[in-house]
Structure formats: C-alpha cells, structure tokens
C-alpha cells in the first residue's frame, strides 16, 4: 500500500464529473479529501490523501492525466520560510499533525512537509509570516 498527499487542479468542464468516485470504484483507492474549492471560474482545487496499491495508484493517476486533471504533490504548495521563522513556537500548539514541531532541548522549530495537511491554521497564528500556503 502507498499513500500520497496531492493537489488536483480541475479544468472547469470537469467540475460536474464524478472523478473521485471513479478513483474509488475503478482503481480501488481510499480517498480522504482534506480541502476542496471551486473558483469563480469553476476551476476546481482539491487537496487529498490517496491510499492504495501501487498499480491502482499508477492507473488512477494515468486516468486523471487523460481526462485533464493536473496533479502535484501537496508539499509544493506549502512553504516554510526558515529565515523568517524566529522559533518562537507560536504554531506548535495549534498544528494538528505536528508537521510543525519543536525539538524541546534546543527549542528549535522544524517543518516536516510530509505531515502537513494544508489546513492553514498556522497562517494567522505565525506573527512573522513564516508559513505560506498557495492553494
């Protein structure tokens, strides 16, 4: 089994298609939708965690590419500007997945993008604009 955190970008003509349902039924993938948004131009953006067999994932992503859904790893959309971070730890108590974590001996903050679910709770909490999520 493999797990991926990805961002889907839908062109407007696909917004009314049951794409996720097809991923689940035809490719035997488990899908956890973390965030979803449709822009005023009816382009869709989805952040999801997909779990499944390697073969199912490959075939599923092939299907997405054929119908015109762009996919990219979530990590590319989340930025931690280390030079802006003062390691104050303001974000630590609110990050739900410990993607933002602190090494207690040094009180040094780190960001593990693989754990980030792009919930954006850290954005208004950071006084130094060290977190940026382009979603």
């Amino acid at each position: 089994m493999q797990k991926k955190r990805v961002v889907f970008s839908y062109p407007s003509h696909l917004v009314d298609q049951p794409v996720i349902s097809k991923l689940v039924k035809d490719y035997d993938l488990t899908v956890n939708i973390l965030r979803a948004r449709i822009t005023p131009k009816e382009e869709g953006r989805l952040v999801l965690e997909i779990t499944g067999k390697r073969s199912g994932l490959e075939a599923g992503f092939q299907y997405l590419s054929e119908i015109g859904v762009e996919t990219q790893p979530l990590a590319q959309d989340v930025k931690w500007y280390e030079d802006r971070c003062t390691h104050c730890t303001a974000c630590i108590s609110v990050c739900p997945t410990q993607a933002l974590d602190v090494e207690r001996d040094k009180m040094e903050v780190s960001f593990n993008r693989d754990k980030c679910i792009a919930c954006e709770i850290c954005i208004p909490v950071c006084p130094y604009q060290a977190m940026e999520i382009l979603f």
Binding site: I92, S93, P124
Partner: protein
C-alpha cells in the same frame, strides 16, 4: 568575595574574563558550588527575543533647501504616520503605528501586515523608505510639501528608544470562551484549546537579577544586534509583586527602558511582527550582562525554569474587563515542555518569545565580552526595587462635567 565593575573590565581588557550564559551558569555553579563559582565567574549574560510593543525610534532627517518644518504638520514613512510634535526635522516612529488606510479590524480578524515596526526593520536592513510630508509653512520654514526616498545612512541621528521592554516575567494567556479570540498574546483557541506564554525564563535579563542589584540607568547592553543602554525602568515597572522565597516575581513585574543607535543594529534582531486581529509590534533582541559582584548575585543568576512561576490568565474575560485573578500558577519548565494543566484540563503551550534566539543573544554577548569588544558599565542609578514604594495604578476615570 566581592568584585567591582572596574576589576571585571580589567579582566575583559586582558582577555581573561570568565563569562557564562544564564543557561550555562546553572550547571557550572551546581558543579563548582556557589562559593567557588562566584570566585571564578565574572559575568553572566542573559538574552531575550520577543514582541515588545512599547518600542519605537526617533530620527533627525536633516534640513531641506528651502527648509520645511515637519513639526505641526503631517509626516509619514511608507504611509505610516510619525509623531512630529517636536522640532523641525525630528520625529518619532512608534512600532505599532499603521497607515491611515490600513483596514485594521474592519474585516475581522485584521491581518496587520505592515506598520511602524516594519519600517524600522526595513531601515535597519539598509532599505529606502518613502518620506511624505505636508507642513503649514512659516517665514523661516517656508516649504509646505516634501516627498523623498530616505535611508538610515542619509539621516543625522536614528535612535531606537523603547519605553518598556524586557518584562520581568509575563502572564500565560488562555481563552475560556467558546469562540476563537485574537490577542496580543496570539490566537487563542476556545475552551482552553491552547496556552501562550512570553518570556525567555531562565535566560531572561530581569529574572536573573530579580531585585535589580546590578541593572540601572547606564547599563550597557546588547540591543537589536548593536550596543544600547538601559535608560531607566520602563513604564509599568512594578517591583512590588508576589515573589518566591528566592525573590523571583510570580507575575509581571519590572521593565526596562532602553535606547541605542539604530545605525549599528541588524534586521535579524529587530523584526516587524503581526498579531492577527490585534496589531503590529516590534520583536526586539536584548541581552543584559550581569556582573557577578558577589555570591548573592551569582545565586540569582542560577535561577532555573522550574523555579520561575507565573500566572495563567483568561484573555476572553478577566483580562479585557480588567478583573484581577489567576486560573493557576505554572512554571517555565512545564511551559517549555509543551503542556500545562488548567482547570483539570491538559492544555498545549506555545511561546511567543523565542528561547532559541534568546540563547543566541546571550551567546553573542558572551563572545563580545570574551573578545574584549564589550565592557561593562556602572549604572548611575539602579532600577527602583521593592523598597521604592512604587504602586502600579489602574486608571481612575473621573467624569468631565459638560458646560453648555
């Protein structure tokens, strides 16, 4: 044993001063014993790096040709208004000042992404800022408008002047209400969702000299990456609070007023800071050297996080309504470990003051002293202490009678 500032400076000059940070001294003194450590150690360095709102800078920008009297008119740096109620080309820029058209909390919670503190950070980084001014014009200062780019090196003087910094201890903020609140202590989740604290604890300057035996007007310090001076107690300086048996205040107590040449400072240690829904502030780096003049002073510098206690305060009701009261007492060891218990509930903690940076500042100050680049000063007057009779007063409002 006893030693003087002159003796310490003589050792610094010879490159022989023994210096430890306020974190290092804890183990050093425990190992050597207080007596021996006090004989051997000359200086203990402290540090803190946190948001400090009562900060700002004053400038003299030089005279234009023809002359303009900014005083009495209106002057902005990058659209942020400055205080011009002084002489012709002097003005003061406050850290929390914002542009007139900043939306503030009109769309709640406001972002407060720019203000005086950011202008200070940009100036210190060597960047140009836009000065725009209108004036009323006089016979000796005829000009009425001015628009120019300006950088720190163009100015005659640029002085960081902070009327209250480096609070000796601070509240832990929580939220008992059922909605999110946006405070100067950060975003507080409803129903005790988190607890925010703001002190460097065992590294914090005034917690290492709890009765102000060495710090006062004239104490030379690390300020914003350069050299500064303590110019007295800060506003709201309140030495007469509950203290532990060792003398450590169990709540907010003493404060420092500091100044220093902005041209010598660094944007690493003066940072524009935005508290969502609250406002703009300046994060200031301060390091104060504590001369180990005797055993008692050394003992004070050995203070550990677990010995520094503070009060948990509800920022949804008791703080805004100015109702005294604490939800409990916790120590900085617990706060730094990541959780405290309030009203029977385990609450995750976050800091607002960076302990990592505080340690770095104490380390830099230690290096400066060891390298013979930084000498200690004898304060002209120590900060007022517990015998000063100072009482911290709330405002007593008196109605103004309206005459028709």
């Amino acid at each position: 044993m006893a030693r003087t500032i002159e003796e310490i400076n003589e050792k610094i000059r010879k490159g022989k001063a023994v210096v430890f940070t306020a974190e290092e001294i804890i183990d050093v003194a425990a190992e050597k014993g207080v007596k021996k450590a006090a004989q051997e150690v000359d200086v203990v360095t402290t540090g803190t790096f946190g948001p400090m709102c009562s900060s700002g800078a004053y400038f003299n920008v030089g005279h234009t040709k023809p002359r303009i009297k900014l005083g009495g008119g209106r002057t902005c740096l990058n659209d942020v208004p400055v205080y011009t109620g002084v002489a012709a080309v002097d003005f003061f820029l406050g850290a929390t000042a914002m542009a007139d058209d900043d939306p503030r909390n009109k769309i709640y919670p406001g972002r407060f992404s720019y203000g005086g503190a950011y202008v200070i950070e940009e100036l210190v980084a060597g960047k140009d800022v836009r000065l725009t001014a209108t004036a009323y014009g006089t016979d000796c200062y005829p000009r009425k408008e001015l628009e120019t780019l300006l950088s720190l090196k163009d100015m005659n003087e640029a002085v960081l002047f902070n009327m209250r910094n480096a609070y000796q201890n601070y509240n832990v903020a929580v939220n008992l209400s059922d909605r999110m609140i946006y405070t100067y202590m950060g975003v507080l989740q409803p129903k005790l969702g988190n607890a925010n604290y703001c002190s460097a604890g065992q590294l914090s300057p005034l917690l290492n000299d709890p009765y102000y035996r060495t710090i006062g007007l004239g104490t030379r310090i690390f300020l914003g990456g350069g050299i500064g001076y303590v110019v007295g107690s800060g506003t709201q300086h309140n030495p007469n609070v509950a203290r532990t048996d060792e003398g450590v205040p169990r709540m907010t107590a003493g404060t420092l007023s500091v100044k220093g040449d902005l041209k010598m400072m660094s944007p690493r240690w003066l940072r524009g800071t935005s508290f969502t829904g609250y406002g703009v502030t300046l994060t200031v780096g301060i390091g104060v050297p504590i001369p180990v003049l005797n055993e008692e002073i050394l003992r004070f510098t050995m203070v550990k996080d677990e010995e520094i206690r503070t009060q948990v305060v509800d920022y949804s009701d008791s703080y805004p309504q100015n109702i005294p009261g604490s939800l409990g007492e916790v120590n900085y060891k617990q706060l730094k470990e990541g959780k405290i218990t309030v009203q029977g509930k385990e609450v995750p903690t976050s800091g607002l003051s960076s302990y990592l940076k505080a340690r770095e500042i104490a380390g830099i100050l230690k290096e400066w002293i060891e390298a013979g680049k930084f000498f200690l000063t004898q304060p002209v007057e120590l900060l007022p202490s517990v015998d000063s009779g100072i009482a911290f007063k709330p405002m007593k409002e008196r109605p103004i009678k309206k005459h028709n």
